[in-house]
C-alpha cells in the first residue's frame, strides 16, 4: 500500500520532470547536432564568400557579403572544358549506380546461403569475409591496381565498378538481417514449390528491404566519394570528382572558391540519396538488433 502511494507520487514527479527533461534533451541534442552539422555549414559558407573574405585569416565562421560568383565561375569553367560537364556527370552516376546495384544484389545473394543454409566451410568463409572488413583500401591498392591492369580493365568503367562488388560491409549487414527472418517463411515458400531463385528474389529480398536500402546508401556514398583518379585516364570516361579536382587544382589559389562550390555540389547526391531513404535506414538500424521471436 505504502509502495503504491510512493509509486503514484513518483509518477507525478516523473510527469512534471519530463517536461523540463524534454527541454533539456532538445537543448543537448541541438548542441551536439550543431557539432555534427558544422562542417557542412562551413563548406557552404566558404563557397558563398567573396574572394576577399575567403582568404581572410583567421577564417570567419559567417559571411558578410554572400555571393554566388564561385558557382557561376565554376559553371563557366565547366562549360569551357573539352568534354561537356554532362558527360562527367553521366559517368559518375552510371558508375555509382551500377556498382551499387550490383553490389547490393550480389552481396544479398551471397548472404542468403551464409545466413540460412548449412554447407561445409561456411564458418571459415565467413571469417575470411570478416577479415575483409578490417582493411583499408590503401593497403591493397597497388596489387589490385596491377590486377585491374592485367585484366585489361584500366581506362574502362569496369575499373571503377568491379572492385566495388566484393566489398565485405554489405554482405555482413545483409547476412545479419537475413538471419533474423523466420525460417518458417522460407519453409512455407519451399513447400509451395518455390525454387531457391524464387525464394531469394520474391521472399528474402523484399523482406529485407530496409537492409537493402541501407547497404545501398553505404555503397553509393562509398563509391561516389571513393572513385580514385588513377584508374581511368581517358577524359571522356572520367568522373565529376576527378574533373573538379583538375579544374581547381590547376590553379589552386585563384580557384579556391570554385573548388569549394564544387565540393558543395558533390555533396548533394549522397545527401539526396540519404534523404530519400533515411526513414528506412533508421528503421533498419532499429531492426538490426532484433532477434527472431
Amino acid at each position: 500500500m505504502l509502495k503504491m502511494k510512493k509509486r503514484k507520487k513518483k509518477l507525478g514527479i516523473d510527469n512534471r520532470r519530463s517536461k523540463i527533461g524534454n527541454g533539456l534533451v532538445i537543448f543537448l541534442l541541438l548542441l551536439l547536432g550543431a557539432f555534427m552539422a558544422f562542417p557542412l555549414y562551413y563548406t557552404v559558407i566558404q563557397s558563398i564568400k567573396p574572394s576577399e573574405e575567403l582568404f581572410q585569416f583567421p577564417p570567419r565562421l559567417y559571411v558578410i557579403r554572400p555571393t554566388q560568383e564561385h558557382y557561376t565561375e565554376l559553371f563557366q569553367l565547366m562549360s569551357n572544358l573539352w568534354v561537356p560537364f554532362s558527360r562527367y556527370l553521366f559517368n559518375t552516376l552510371f558508375v555509382s549506380l551500377l556498382g551499387t546495384v550490383l553490389h547490393v544484389v550480389l552481396a544479398g545473394m551471397a548472404a542468403y546461403p551464409l545466413a540460412k543454409h548449412n554447407f561445409p566451410g561456411k564458418d571459415a568463409l565467413f571469417a575470411i569475409i570478416l577479415l575483409g572488413l578490417m582493411f583499408v583500401g590503401q593497403v591493397t591498392f597497388l596489387p589490385s591496381f596491377i590486377i585491374i591492369a592485367k585484366l585489361n580493365l584500366l581506362n574502362t568503367y569496369w575499373a571503377y565498378i568491379l572492385p566495388n562488388i566484393g566489398v565485405s560491409l554489405g554482405l555482413f549487414l545483409m547476412k545479419q538481417f537475413i538471419e533474423q527472418l523466420p525460417d518458417s517463411l522460407i519453409e512455407a515458400a519451399r513447400i509451395d514449390g518455390a525454387n531457391e531463385w524464387k525464394i531469394y528474389f520474391s521472399i528474402i529480398f523484399p523482406n529485407v528491404k530496409p537492409a537493402v536500402l541501407t547497404v545501398f546508401i553505404f555503397q553509393f556514398v562509398n563509391i561516389w566519394n571513393g572513385l580514385s583518379k588513377e584508374l581511368v585516364y581517358d577524359e571522356q570516361l572520367k568522373v565529376v570528382k576527378v574533373a573538379l579536382e583538375q579544374v581547381s587544382a590547376s590553379n589552386a589559389y585563384a580557384r579556391m572558391g570554385s573548388g569549394m562550390a564544387g565540393s558543395v555540389l558533390l555533396m548533394i547526391p549522397p545527401i539526396v540519396v540519404f534523404i530519400l531513404m533515411q526513414r528506412n535506414v533508421v528503421e533498419t538500424m532499429t531492426f538490426a538488433g532484433m532477434k527472431e521471436g
Partner: protein
C-alpha cells in the same frame, strides 16, 4: 537437417551458386591483392621497364621494421594511445542513443543529423576540413584543432580570458567535435540495441519501484552488452584503419612517395597483426561480461 538428403545436396549447390559471383569479386579484388601484398613483404621490389621485379629477401623487411626503423614502433605505440577514444565514444554514443530514443518533436530530424557523419564524413567534406580548417595542425592522427585558427579564439581574447584558458576551451571543443564525428555508426547501433529491449522489462521494474538510475544500470546496460562488444570492435577498427592515422599515412608514403613497396607491405602486415592482437585481447576480456538475456 530438416529436409531429405537429395534436396539437401541441391540446396548446397544452390548455396555455392549464390555465393560465387560475389566471391569472385572478393577474391579478385581483395583476397588476391591481400595475399600478393603479404608476399611483397618478403621481397625487395624495384620498378624496371618490364614492370615490377621482386627479389626474395626473407624476413629482412620485418626485422628492419622491428629493430632498425626508429619511427615505426614509436608510431605503433602512439596509435595504441588512440584507444583512449574508445570508452569516450562508447559513453557518448550510449548517451546520444538514449536521448534519441525518447519521443519529442523533431526526433526524425535529429536521427538524420546523427547519421550525417556516416554519409559525408569520409568524403569530400573531410578533405576540405583537413586541408582548410585544420591546416594549421594536420600532422598525423592527432586531434585537429578546429577552432584554434578561427574567429572563436579572437572572440575569447576580446572577452579578456587568459591564454591558457582559451587553449583549454579550444582543446575541449575540438575533442567534442572529433567525438561526434566518430560516433555516427555507434549511435545507430546502440539505438537499435535500445529498441531491442522489451518494454515489459521496464514496466515490471517500474512496478517494483526501481528508479530511472537503477533501471539504467540493472536493465539497460546489461541488455546492451552485446551491442557494446560490437561497437568496441567497430570503433577499434575505425580508429586504426582511419586514413588520417599516422601509421596508415606512413605505410602509404613508404609505398607511393618513397617507392619502397616491399617494405610498405611488411609494415602493413605488422600493423595488421598488432590490431588483430588488440581486438582478440579486447574480445576475450569483454566476452565474460556479455549478458545473454534468453538464458
Amino acid at each position: 537437417m530438416r529436409k531429405k538428403m537429395p534436396y539437401h545436396t541441391k540446396r548446397k549447390i544452390y548455396g555455392f551458386l549464390f555465393i560465387t559471383p560475389w566471391l569472385l569479386g572478393f577474391l579478385l579484388f581483395f583476397a588476391v591483392p591481400f595475399i600478393q601484398s603479404c608476399l611483397y613483404g618478403f621481397q625487395d621490389l624495384t620498378t624496371s621497364v618490364d614492370g615490377m621485379v621482386g627479389e626474395w629477401v626473407g624476413l629482412k623487411n620485418f626485422s628492419y621494421a622491428l629493430f632498425r626503423d626508429t619511427e615505426f614502433l614509436v608510431q605503433c605505440v602512439g596509435s595504441l594511445r588512440d584507444l583512449v577514444q574508445v570508452p569516450l565514444i562508447l559513453v557518448y554514443s550510449v548517451c546520444f542513443a538514449l536521448l534519441l530514443k525518447k519521443d519529442y518533436p523533431g526526433r526524425t530530424l535529429m536521427r538524420a543529423i546523427a547519421f550525417l557523419p556516416v554519409i559525408i564524413g569520409s568524403g569530400v567534406l573531410m578533405d576540405i576540413m583537413k586541408t582548410d580548417v585544420f591546416s594549421s595542425s594536420v600532422n598525423g592522427a592527432e586531434t585537429t584543432y578546429l577552432f584554434s585558427s578561427s574567429g572563436l579564439t579572437g572572440f575569447f581574447q576580446s572577452m579578456g580570458l587568459p591564454v591558457g584558458m582559451i587553449g583549454f576551451i579550444n582543446e575541449v571543443i575540438s575533442k567534442i567535435f572529433d567525438l561526434t564525428w566518430r560516433s555516427g555508426v555507434q549511435i545507430l547501433l546502440f539505438l537499435a540495441g535500445l529498441h531491442n529491449i522489451p518494454s515489459y522489462v521496464y514496466e515490471a521494474a517500474d512496478i517494483e519501484g526501481a528508479n530511472a538510475l537503477e533501471q539504467f544500470f540493472k536493465i539497460t546496460l546489461p541488455m546492451l552488452t552485446p551491442m557494446i562488444l560490437l561497437n568496441v570492435v567497430y570503433s577499434v577498427i575505425d580508429i586504426f584503419a582511419d586514413f588520417g592515422n599516422a601509421i596508415i599515412q606512413m605505410i602509404y608514403n613508404t609505398a607511393f612517395t618513397n617507392v619502397r613497396f616491399g617494405y610498405s607491405s611488411a609494415l602493413s602486415i605488422l600493423y595488421f597483426l598488432m590490431v588483430a592482437a588488440v581486438l582478440i585481447i579486447l574480445y576475450l576480456v569483454m566476452k565474460r561480461f556479455i549478458v545473454h538475456p534468453e538464458e
